[in-house]
């Protein structure tokens, strides 16, 4: 094979570089880059992602010749580090870590201290003169290796890790120790032997004592962990393709736990929570890297900027070792200049010498991402276009989301304080497990996930929870990292809580307060405070930097963004978020919302009318309500286009179901309750989604359409008389071809003429249709001859194209996504196959029928960044989405224009 699978780095040189992420993974490419920059990096090898793909294609066998290439590369590593792998005198130890193109923190497996074995133990003890450290490392290797390589990678899942953990706990109990710190070198040695025996007993094979076997096993295990359950689940959420694969980085070990002059830490070149330009990080003396992120010990602050309530008593690196701190700080500044982005770094200090273990572009909150993008632009580090691409559209969400009303918060009952790990506020019911979070959310509850600490197994629950609260962990703990990536409200390290997950309770120590499952709390993630009960939340006040950013965004955006609305209030909110019109106004709302009793009652009279006369009477009664609603909306959006969709839902949705309502209606109609019940039953449909709705109602009862159209034109005429500039658009739903549009247009034209005459004005309007039935896409050319605009109703279109009822699909849809039958939930993101092809076809055919056809989208997917990009590529004129997603759609549209720009 002529494929090169192994790339070396170290000795201020490397075979790879930063832009080789696809092949080397992010970690491997960045390690190479740091070497090229001359930074102190322990030498190592990167085994390519291609090798991972080949490994899976080859039935989980390492490609032939790979290990030969590895041993060859190891000679370079040994030379740079001045040590020898497996050597009795001067043994080199290695780590094996995953590294995919995109960051997947903690989702794959790692093995440390590889190379410790009976042959190398004496040499390293001699060299370090620290038998406790060596045996500690050894027992850690056994635990990790047995778990990751022997148990999980082999798909055995015998739970060896838990059994070894239990042994460790029992051992400490027997000895009366309170913490690991009390374990002596002999204890560690004894434990290592006990562990090896247990491994043999449970797994049926020995823990390998051959360093070569250890390294090969570790490489395989990292590849294997690419398809581990949590990695697969994370990829789903983060939209990382399964076929990217991971690289494996095998790197010389350096030890932050080699004594009092050793340490380990992590940092960000700017504050990832708020975006301020300070070197932000944490470290732990005499510790291994995992200890910092695990959240078990409270880490020390890096510097004065990083001090907070939890850690202010601990010495900072800046205070303790100013020279090392300066070296680190300088390194970080160089890195930021090189990468032109905020970086997340890991370092280790081994016996007074600094090593950079990792650098990568850091994750941050949306607030921070936006601030950093604007600051870096102002610092001339990046240009405008780059600034626009630096904020993920989804991240804007958190800038728009509610916060606690400070006045109310001041008097609320504070339960506990923790670290402000994710901004914004959240109200919800407490649950204590990821599974419960998923299940409660599925039934429509808003939940807060309360845990001691979180781990990668919890990501599904964290995803669905409105907020996260943990009793342990720091700002770089798993919970904080994940929540921040998603812009989710999160508090970590609320030490006053005693969370007992198995009992589903949390005690607020010293207060007698017990938080039980289902209790309602409010979290303020910006402050790190948790309150009893549901506090009133308020909109995030307008952020001037956000406004400035969105102005730049709009400079690059070419596609319109409108909003979907049900009320004039919705419309105003969306306008404040930059909506350029209403793409879908649902008149239905007036029959559902507060104060809807009167119109709903009249609507019911119309629905259950026994004769055309009765029906017409009810329709006439209904018109003023409809007109008022439409007029208010036109006023709210004065000068901007407002697309009114004609009545859409099947009528029986509005039919009275309770005995009381039926009685009331019977009296009003002068018929018996039995008659009402019979008429309601007549209306019942087996599959209402595909029943008598939308334009089908209008065809059967033209008077309903005429009433709506008259209300709209009269509202428009009155506003014109008042000097306003209403821009109404009429949208016909659920059409299957051009003829329904033609028939409906006859009524519309008639009423238009009547109203224009009556008011002496010339009303301009657009006439168009929803495209939400697959057949409509096929007939698009002839439909465009009747319609001036199309708006894709991708909710219904998805239902029909997949045969998925939104109301019922939750029984199997999550399983369809889990099992990889579908890449994503097609109700959230337009599936380019199926629905996507229909849209592309309808655009092409529609524009054939009418070259200047306006085309938009008003399904839920209109606010989904991936779908916005799809719409851009299909030449849509606008997307329309719910008010809170308007800025997201604006940013996504700008990014699409920059990415595919013309």
């Amino acid at each position: 094979m002529s494929k090169k699978y192994v790339y070396s780095f170290g000795a201020k040189n490397a075979e790879g570089k930063a832009d080789m992420k696809e092949l080397l993974g992010g970690k491997g490419a960045n390690l190479a880059e740091m070497c090229l920059m001359g930074l102190p990096v322990p030498a190592g090898l990167t085994i390519t992602t291609e090798c991972c793909t080949d490994y899976y294609a080859n039935d989980c066998q390492l490609p032939k010749g790979l290990m030969d290439e590895v041993w060859k590369g190891m000679e370079f590593v040994e030379k740079d580090m001045g040590m020898k792998y497996g050597d009795a005198e001067n043994p080199l130890l290695m780590s094996a870590r995953s590294g995919s193109r995109g960051s997947m923190p903690g989702m794959m497996d790692t093995v440390l201290n590889i190379g410790l074995c009976s042959a190398t133990l004496p040499g390293i003890i001699k060299k370090t003169d620290n038998p406790r450290f060596v045996y500690d490392s050894y027992r850690r290797l056994i635990m990790m290796y047995a778990d990751v390589v022997m148990d999980k990678a082999e798909g055995l899942d015998k739970g060896i890790r838990r059994q070894l953990d239990d042994m460790l706990e029992h051992y400490k109990e027997e000895k009366g120790y309170e913490g690991d710190i009390e374990l002596t070198a002999d204890d560690m040695k004894t434990l290592a032997e006990k562990f090896k025996a247990k491994v043999k007993e449970v797994m049926g094979t020995d823990f390998p004592d051959d360093p070569k076997v250890q390294l090969e096993g570790a490489i395989k295990a990292v590849f294997k962990s690419w398809n581990g359950k949590k990695a697969v689940s994370y990829r789903r959420i983060e939209n990382i393709p399964d076929d990217w694969g991971t690289a494996v980085n095998i790197q010389a070990m350096v030890f932050g736990n080699m004594g009092d002059t050793s340490a380990t830490g992590v940092g960000f070149t700017r504050d990832p929570a708020v975006g301020t330009k300070v070197f932000y990080g944490e470290w732990l003396p005499n510790a291994q890297g995992e200890d910092v992120v695990a959240g078990i010990r409270t880490p020390n602050p890096l510097n004065s900027d990083t001090k907070n309530e939890q850690n202010k008593h601990l010495p900072s690196l800046q205070e303790l070792w100013p020279n090392l701190y300066k070296e680190l700080d300088d390194t970080c500044m160089r890195l930021e200049t090189e990468y032109k982005d905020m970086l997340d770094i890991e370092f280790t200090i081994q016996e007074g010498k600094l090593y950079m273990l990792q650098c990568r572009v850091g994750k941050s909150t949306g607030t921070a991402a936006l601030k950093m993008a604007m600051d870096m632009m102002n610092e001339k580090l990046i240009d405008e276009k780059t600034a626009v691409t630096r904020v993920k559209p989804e991240q804007l969400d958190e800038l728009l989301h509610p916060i606690c009303d400070p006045k109310i918060e001041a008097t609320a009952k504070l339960l506990c304080k923790g670290l402000p790990a994710g901004p914004g506020a959240a109200v919800g019911k407490v649950v204590f497990s990821s599974e419960d979070a998923v299940e409660w959310t599925r039934r429509g509850e808003k939940v807060l996930l309360v845990r001691k600490e979180t781990n990668p197994e919890d990501v599904d629950g964290m995803r669905v929870a409105d907020g996260i609260l943990t009793s342990l962990g720091g700002m770089t703990s798993h919970a904080a990292l994940v929540a921040r990536g998603w812009g989710k409200c999160c508090i970590v390290g609320a030490g006053v809580l005693d969370v007992q997950e198995d009992k589903k309770v949390a005690y607020v120590k010293g207060t007698g307060i017990v938080i039980k499952e289902g209790d309602i709390l409010t979290l303020n993630g910006t402050k790190g405070h948790a309150y009893e009960g549901a506090l009133k939340l308020m909109e995030s006040s307008e952020n001037p930097q956000f406004q400035e950013f969105m102005k730049i965004v709009d400079k690059y955006r070419t596609m319109g963004v409108r909003t979907n609305a049900e009320t004039a209030e919705d419309a105003l909110l969306a306008k404040s978020f930059g909506a350029e019109g209403i793409g879908l106004f649902r008149t239905e709302h007036m029959f559902y919302g507060k104060g809807a009793e009167a119109p709903l009652f009249v609507l019911r009279k119309m629905i259950l009318a026994g004769s055309d006369e009765e029906r017409q009477k009810a329709i006439d009664e209904l018109e003023p309500f409809v007109k008022k609603d439409m007029k208010e909306t036109l006023i709210a959006m004065d000068g901007l286009p407002v697309t009114f969709r004609l009545l859409d839902p099947p009528l029986h949705e509005f039919a009275p179901q309770t005995a009381e309502n039926q009685k009331q209606l019977a009296d009003a109609l002068g018929i018996t309750v039995e008659d009402v019940v019979n008429r309601v039953q007549d209306l019942h449909e087996i599959n209402p989604m595909m029943g008598h709705r939308g334009v089908r109602l209008g065809i059967t009862y033209p008077a309903i359409t005429e009433m709506q159209v008259r209300a709209l034109f009269e509202a428009t005429a009155e506003l014109m008389k008042d000097g306003k500039s209403p821009k109404p658009e009429i949208m016909v739903p659920v059409t299957i071809g051009g003829r329904e549009l033609r028939i409906t247009k006859v009524s519309v034209d008639k009423i238009h003429e009547e109203v224009c005459k009556k008011f002496g004005v010339k009303i301009e309007y657009l006439y168009g249709t929803m495209i939400e039935i697959p057949r409509a896409c096929f007939l698009a050319e002839s439909m465009a001859k009747e319609a001036e605009f199309f708006s894709f109703g991708t909710n219904d279109l998805t239902q029909m194209t997949y045969g998925f009822s939104r109301d019922d699909a939750s029984v199997f849809l999550p399983e369809y996504v889990d099992k990889g039958i579908l890449d994503k939930d097609p109700f959230q993101t337009i599936d380019p196959k199926g629905v996507g092809e229909l849209i592309t076809m309808a655009c092409e055919r529609g524009r054939k029928g009418r070259p200047n056809l306006k085309v938009g989208i008003c399904g839920e997917q209109g606010g989904d960044p991936k779908s916005v990009e799809f719409c851009y590529l299909n030449g849509l004129n606008y997307v329309s989405c719910s008010p809170y997603r308007v800025p997201i759609a604006r940013l996504a549209a700008a990014q699409a224009a920059i990415k595919h720009g013309k």
Copy 2:
């Protein structure tokens, strides 16, 4: 304009000919052809169908210059007839009749006696010396003209015709007359004057006295009637495109009512009911053509072959005027040789001279069509291919449909006898109006339409009724013609019945028996007998000519025909009809049908299982039932392929709904009734058609799939051991892409291996999928990589493509067809747009994925001739339909192959 709109015929010459039907309409082309053959045809002009299209395109204005062309053509007519239009001395009278490409009997308007006016009346009276005849013609012209030209064509619908009819009735009452025959010439004259005054009063304008105005008005009115309600409705049913347009034939009037040497009649060159080679027809002395078909007088027989119970006392034409009869008979024989088909002719004898007024290919029953095709083939008049195309596939229906069991019929209570106008037997509830027939049928009733006589307004009701019974009319009456065209059971002229449609009763005269709405009768249309109550019907015995015909059909057929079946009995019936396999076997049946209690109960245990163990137990219990069912079907179809569809419907369809069933199940599962109710509620879906069904169930509960597959393979293996040749095919329903197929295939492969091993046999089978969700059509290429065959489930595919729930669409679908929004019901015939495009695409993409992919269809449309043609054009390997439609599909497939043949 250089367009030629007017074609003349007459004087043994013509500008048109028989193959110009598109331009001249069937009637016009055939009139021209008869002239070219030298037959005696009154001269006239045909105004083209193109003129009709231009008339509609031109906002219902006659094209400029048309009337000049007409007047020019009239000179030719005048010369041939030796009379002059509008002349005082020797006036020519004209008729104006419609004539479209396809026959639309009685659906459009006709005006006779055009040219009678104050200027021409004296001349014609002098010429005929028959003032009563002339004034009778005059008052008929006024009535017809006022109705057709002045009222209906203008869209006024003032009901002038009814008012004039009432005047006539009143006049007769005042005079004490019993029938029209007593009206004298003076009476007729008085009536004509009264009519003109009434017309002026009601319509606001005078009846035109100018012959030129009359003719132009009549031409316009005929064009206008192309879009009359009944014409449009008929076109829908008969699938005649709206844009064909009608020609107008203006032809010199000849009079069958000019006295005792005049007559009029209609005939068929062979018996249209049974196909025998006899000249078959009826005539009336001294009458106009309309009188024969109106069914008001019982017409005379043409010859001895045409005598029957009703007319045997009346003299035949053959007896009365043997020379004229011979001339007519010779003419008909010449025509049949010329046209090589059975013809339907109209003739008039005016004062001893024979005129041919019309000839066209006659409509017949399916039985007759088949016999005539076979006879003509044997007579060497036509070849095999032509014979195959002579029977409409739909017509085979009647050859397969049930007849009365003669033994039971012998003892049944006979209510009345009439003419056997449409073959086969029918049982149903009596209704007395077309509207009721439609409405009752819509609610699922089988009805018999009982009328005095039928008219074109009744076609909708006749269409839906299982049988038709009239008290008036002969074998060429409207009811008989229409029923025969549709192969529907029909009895006409049951004179013993006194049908009072307004009161919804019919009295059997002289018996005291009253037939009320809703009473159940049985009609034997082959004999013309009606019986009280529901008689047992039996299958039509096998017809040797039918078998011979189908053998020829299969010689030309290239596409396979299979059947859809739910039981082994279905399968056997279909095999007897020529099914070459089962294209869709629905295992669901065993849970619905008789004796289904046991499997249904076990199925319910499975559905409502509370744990995997409980479910597996129920599944194991279910397997023997499933296996038995599958084995019986494989035996029935031994050697032929049988496609088993995996369980398809949503589970809640099977859930127990009654308290008793719930109790029983609760006991069996050892849970409370409340638990059962809760689990049933959990299963409830809002749109079950798009819910948890088909492969989705298999993904969620793989054990269900595995059980079915094991049952099938074990049944197959056992049959192989018995020396049989089972050919099972596994079909996965409701798939949306290839991945579901891949996942399911893993289970299938596993079970296949197990069963093959257990029985020591090598089971061959095909693995495929339904294509019934729009997305599947888009993903067809990747699906074909997993599936060896596709079968289009066009029922579901239509539901999703249109967003039409079959269960609910009846509320609006008929209106959609009526209003022309849809050309046809897409659940009956594949719509080439939408569903058709999806099928074409899926075929292309599927064969890209697997070049030898087998493709079939198993939706209802698989037995629809138009759809079978569509399938042929798309290269499908087979169609599959219900047993009774198998011969229809075979014929349709053969006709498609002949039409588009390769």
